[in-house]
Amino acid sequence: MSDNPFSLWVYLSQSPLLWLTVTLLTYVATDAVSLKTRRHPLANPVLHSLWIIGAFLLLTGTSYTTYFAGAQFVHFLLGPATVALAVPLYENRRRVAAAVLPMLVALAVGSLTAIVSVVLLARAFGLPRDIILSLSPKSVTAGVAMGISESLHADPSLTAVSVILTGIMGAIIVTPLMNFTGVTDFRGRGFAAGIAAHGIGTARAFQVDEVAGVFAGIAMSLNALVTSLLVPLAATYLLR
């Protein structure tokens, strides 16, 4: 083995260890840059990790399946992290209880806007029907969106990509956009981030303000429920 460095690469590139390590190291580096730039929106750690790891996979000719065999250990934690949102929710329960009604109204409007806007825009651009269906659940968290996409016989992996792209764009734009509108209510700012940009928006909200993060987490959870009910309806009425 030692006389052929290539065989070491063959072994490593097929083992989950390498790709798990690559994922964690890339995140540590991009997150450090994000901290150094005082959480500048454009230093979004997800965005920069994606192109770095993506380029690495393409350069080494590694398939996504091989990569995911290692990265799945990280991916798995999406579920437990959703459960963990109970803790900030519990700690801010009084503030949340006081805002139940505005949240429900904003949830209905936001969830509907997210779906209808993407379907109408995609139709205007003349995209094929299966791509429109795959894009429609893009504002909910990856696992749920992929489930919706599957039940509509769309393309779950394209859905996952559009979910992540939506999340990254939302996380980048939310702070400048909200500063521009002059809204200083961090409950509303966070709630909007969670509706429009699910977990990546929530991660961003937690970086900016704890209250914003809590409201983003609630918005993301509620939107997962509402969107799984609304997208099949939208597919029926808007895409006949």
Binding site: T23, T26, Y27, P45, V46, L50, L57, L58, Y64, F68, A71, L77, G79, P80, A81, T82, V83, A84, L85, A86, V87, P88, L101, P102, M103, A106, G110, A114, S117, V118, A122, L127, I131, S139, V144, G147, L158, A160, V161, V163, T166, I173, L177, T181, V183, D185, G188, F191, A192, A196, A197, A203, F206, G217, A219, S221, A224, L225, S228, L229
Partner: protein, 128 residues
């Protein structure tokens, strides 16, 4: 640490089992979130529960640690973009524009509704 993680996983497991048994279109982890919230609220009422992961900031600190690195968890799914380069080459610009416009419109509609509804409600509380 391990006990706290186990409690979180247990909540998710019960959630997943419940949504499958009842065939409701709710994500399992969201039910798990509600369960953990109920446990934390129950602990305030019944101090007997304040032990193991529910005592001494156990499940709280484990959750905070996970949420502090929430961004990391989206990277594996996001790297899936390398599989979709053909679709993106064909429709990439349109998809990016559509998603960007949709996310901006959604952010604005949601925050405007939230702010309007909460100021409307607080005004009603002031002059009933």
């Amino acid at each position: 640490m391990i006990a706290s993680l186990s409690l979180i996983l247990l909540c998710q497991l019960v959630g997943e089992v419940a949504v499958r048994a009842l065939a409701v279109p709710v994500p399992g982890p969201v039910v798990g979130l509600v369960l953990l919230l109920l446990l934390l609220l129950a602990r305030d009422r019944f101090p007997v529960l304040a032990r193991g992961p529910l005592g001494d900031d156990g499940v709280e600190s484990a959750s905070r640690g996970m949420l502090a690195n929430l961004s990391l968890l989206f990277i594996p799914a996001g790297v899936g973009v390398v599989q979709k380069l053909d679709v993106l080459a064909e429709h990439g610009i349109a998809i990016l524009v559509i998603l960007a416009v949709s996310v901006i419109v959604t952010l604005l509609a949601t925050v405007a509704t939230f702010v309007a509804a909460s100021s409307l409600l607080s005004r009603e509380e002031e002059n009933p």
